[in-house]
Structure formats: C-alpha cells, structure tokens
C-alpha cells in the first residue's frame, strides 16, 4: 500500500517533498514547511490532516493557490499527525497524488504523456490549443513551469511523443534534483502530463498569436 511504502521511504531517510519537510516524532509524524524546520516551536500546531487542505489553499498574502506545486506555501504551521495514514492524507492535500505518482512511475505503471497528446485531445474552449506551435510551446513551458516562481514539479514529458523535454534546463527534468534548489533527500515531485493551468495558458498564447 502507498502508506506502507511512504513509511519505508521515511525510514530510508527521505524527509522532504516540495516545500515540505517531515519526520517521525514521538507521537507519530510531524509535517511542516521546510523553511520553518529550525523554528517549529513558534509554529501553530494542527492535528488533523484536513487542516492541510486549508493551509494549502491560500498563500501568505491570502491569494488563492490553484496550483498546488507553486513555491508559495504559507509558513508558520506544523501538523502533528498520529500515524502514517494521516501523513499520507496530509501530503495529498498539499501535493495531490505526488507520492502515488512517484511510486507508480518507479514501478513502471505510469508514463509521461507528451504535450501534443494532451493538447490534441482537448475539446470545447481548449480545442484551439492544438494550434500551439512548437516554439510557442517551449517558451510557454519554460516560463509557466519554472521552479523558482511557478511550479516545483519535475517535468518528464516533452512536446512530442518519445522526445525528452530537452528544451528545459536539465535540472527541471531530473527527478533526482531538488527543485527548491536545496540538496535535500527529497521525494521526487513529478509532472507526468501538462496540467489544466498550462492548457489554459496554451489557449491564451494561441489566441494572442492569432490576433
């Protein structure tokens, strides 16, 4: 089960995912913003995994965070969770499906889907994204997915099938690289397919370029 594998990974020394840090504690598991790791005694304590959903909803300025991989998680909280199941649930509220996706990818049960395949199946208002040129696609992904300000996921898909994302900095497509720029023992935070936010941005790009 995913929770058992997560427990094993923690025992093996993994202690980070995206902006999060986690560790076993005397009462179960502790989950916190990595940047707060040396000041957890000043953090507000939460005890339900569902609190993670609310913490992850807004950034520190109160703005809605529709993209959970964005590097703008608020600070100043710590989740004290009694068991591995609650830790898994809380991680899924912060970074939905990240652990399951990593495990599925590692076991060969999930593969990246190229951008063309994602765009070509769109209908309705997003059908127009099929017209996104390769050059526009590359510039868009470089900007809209950059780790320092937009999204911490590691991109494994290319523009076309069987093409790696070699238009990106090598670090952005290497699952072993910590996208926060630190050298932590972090769980890979993978992006196997362009998200709806990127598809929506592709639509805007196509609309602008056709004006």
């Amino acid at each position: 089960m995913i929770k058992d594998e997560l427990a094993r990974l923690i025992t093996d020394g993994y202690n980070a995912l995206g902006e999060l840090g986690f560790a076993e504690s005397s009462t179960g598991y502790r989950l916190y913003h990595w940047a707060d790791r040396n000041s957890l005694n000043q953090a507000r304590i939460y005890r339900s995994p569902k609190d993670a959903r609310e913490i992850a909803k807004y950034d520190s300025s109160g703005a809605y965070r529709p993209l959970k991989g964005a590097p703008n998680l608020p600070r100043g909280w710590v989740l004290e969770l009694p068991n591995i199941n609650d830790l898994k649930t809380a991680l899924d509220f912060f970074y939905p499906g990240a652990v399951a996706t990593w495990l599925a990818f590692r076991e060969g049960k999930a593969q990246p889907v190229c951008l063309r395949q994602t765009l070509n199946r769109q209908t309705g208002m997003y059908r127009v994204t099929r017209k996104l040129t390769d050059d526009h696609a590359k510039s868009l992904v470089k900007e809209a997915c950059r780790s320092d300000s937009r999204c911490l996921r590691t991109i494994l898909w290319g523009i076309e099938a069987d093409h790696p994302p070699d238009f990106l900095p090598a670090s952005k497509s290497d699952p072993t690289v910590d996208q926060t720029g630190q050298s932590r023992t972090t769980l890979p935070f993978l992006c196997l397919e362009a998200c709806n936010l990127l598809v929506a941005a592709a639509r805007t790009t196509v609309k602008k370029s056709s004006r």
Binding site: I2, G97, G124
Partner: protein, 272 residues
C-alpha cells in the same frame, strides 16, 4: 445502506483556478462519506484543480472504483470531459485489474427539485408566491444540450406544482439569457435560484453581474463577511438571489444513492 468496504469512491467536481469555493461542496461530501466509513477510500478529483482527473486513479488502491460526478446535470462534462480524461469506455471500464464504475451525475437525483424549492424558500421566506416569478438559472452551453434540458425539466416539474405565479429558466451561454431577466419575468418579486453545485465563479461571481445586482465581479463568497443582501430593489422589482444547492448536507446521501442506483442498473454489466 450502501456499504462498500472493498471499494473506492471518487467524487469528481469541476473546481476552479479562480474561485476557492468551487471545490468546497465536493470536499464537504467526501469528508462526510469518509466519516461514515462506508468505502475503503474516498477521493476527490477535479477538472480545474488537483488532483486532476488524469492523476487521481493513481491514488486509488482498491480494485473496485465508483466514480460519481458531483455535477448538476448530464452534459458536456459528464459525457465528454470526464470519460475522456479518465479513459472510460462506458458505465463499466475494466483496466489493469480494476473495475471502474461510472455513475450518473448527482443532479439526476429526483430530490434536486426539493432542494431548489428549499433554496428559493430560504432566500425569500416572506414573499407572496402568487406574485412571484421563480427563475432557475443554469450554465447552458452550445457544446451539449443536456445541461439546459435538465434545467428545463426542473422548471416543468416545479411549474406543475403551481407554487409560484411563474416559473421560468435562463442561462449564461444560451438563450433565454440571464441578463434579460427583466423582460422574461412578469412578477414584482423575482426569486433566482442557481442550478449549480457550488457558490463558485459562475453562480456567486458571474451571475450577479448578469442579473445587475453587482456591477463587477465581487470577491469569492468565503472571502466576504455577508453571503448576500437580499432583496435587491431594481426598476420597481424586488430580486432575491439564492445560494447553490450543492452544499446541502443531504447531498452526501444523494451521492450514496447514486452509487446504489448504479448497482441496480448495471448489475449484469459488472457481473459479465
């Protein structure tokens, strides 16, 4: 009672990249069903939020999976988007040792009529109904006629109950348009009920602008101190705007009934 201790429930909502309240009803009902411990696992998935429809099935560990669209009607999302993104082949999809059972949207439940009427009553408890127009407002889309047809069906049934002087419908994206409510309703009092699951982007922020009760998009409902200031006096008319029906606690039972209805309807397909 539905007891599915070896099955997963995946509730699918629209979600929003702009409005933080859009996913709230889906999470609310998933929490309630999870609290009742009827399923091995309960997950949410969204078109516009995470987890996406593309990634949610990786999170599911049970081999038997019920997918329930938390949508107000059949239409573009239930017939095109959800099956495509989840790669479903019909009501029953078998893939990699898993059985995915695709249920009807919650809006197909006959109790939606009662919920709409309750919202109308809550928004305007003291209006004389014999001098009131009840306006059901839906999304409507040229991509699929079924969403408008569902609203029309609700209007027909409510009209037959003869509770209000007038019962009619209007849409965001197809005629009769919401913005034309003044000419399409005849009574002094007008009670408007959104035919939507969430008090999200469309029902809380867009439709008030179309109705003319707000001049511009307001902040999301959860970021306001007061949900709404009924009534709105406009051009000698009194307009009341209700909240969406999807946050009703009863919806958790509606979801469970939707699962039970699937089993009754597709027992043979699943056994095959």
């Amino acid at each position: 009672m539905v007891e599915k201790w070896e099955s997963a429930l995946v509730l699918v909502g629209h979600g929003s990249t702009l409005n933080p309240d859009s996913s709230a009803p889906t999470f609310q009902h998933a929490d309630e069903i999870g609290r009742r411990e009827l399923f091995a696992e309960v997950h949410c998935a969204f078109w516009k939020e995470e987890p996406s429809l593309r990634e949610v099935l990786r999170m599911v560990e049970s081999d038997d999976i019920y997918v329930v669209p938390n949508f107000i009607s059949e239409g573009y999302f239930t017939e095109t988007i959800i099956p495509r993104e989840l790669e479903l082949t019909g009501p029953v999809t078998r893939r990699s040792g898993k059985v995915i059972k695709y249920c009807e949207p919650v809006g197909n439940d006959p109790r939606m009529i009662d919920l709409l009427l309750r919202r109308a009553q809550d928004a305007a408890p003291n209006v004389p109904r014999e001098k009131t127009s009840l306006l059901i407002v839906g999304h409507g889309t040229s991509l699929n006629q079924k969403s408008a047809e569902a609203a029309q069906q609700q209007v027909r049934v409510i009209r037959e109950k003869r509770l209000y002087a007038e019962v009619t419908e209007a849409y965001m994206e197809e005629p009769p348009f919401i913005a034309d409510w003044r000419k399409n309703t005849s009574q002094r009092h007008v009670v408007v009920v959104p035919f939507f699951i969430a008090d999200g982007l469309h029902s809380y922020q867009d439709i008030p602008v179309l109705l003319g009760i707000e001049s511009d998009r307001t902040a999301a409902a959860s970021q306001q101190e007061i949900f709404r200031r009924n009534p709105y006096n406009m051009d000698g008319r009194e307009l009341y705007y209700a909240s969406a029906i999807g946050t009703e606690p009863l919806m958790a039972d509606v979801i469970l009934d939707t699962v039970a209805r699937f089993d009754r309807k597709h027992l043979c397909d699943v056994a095959a």
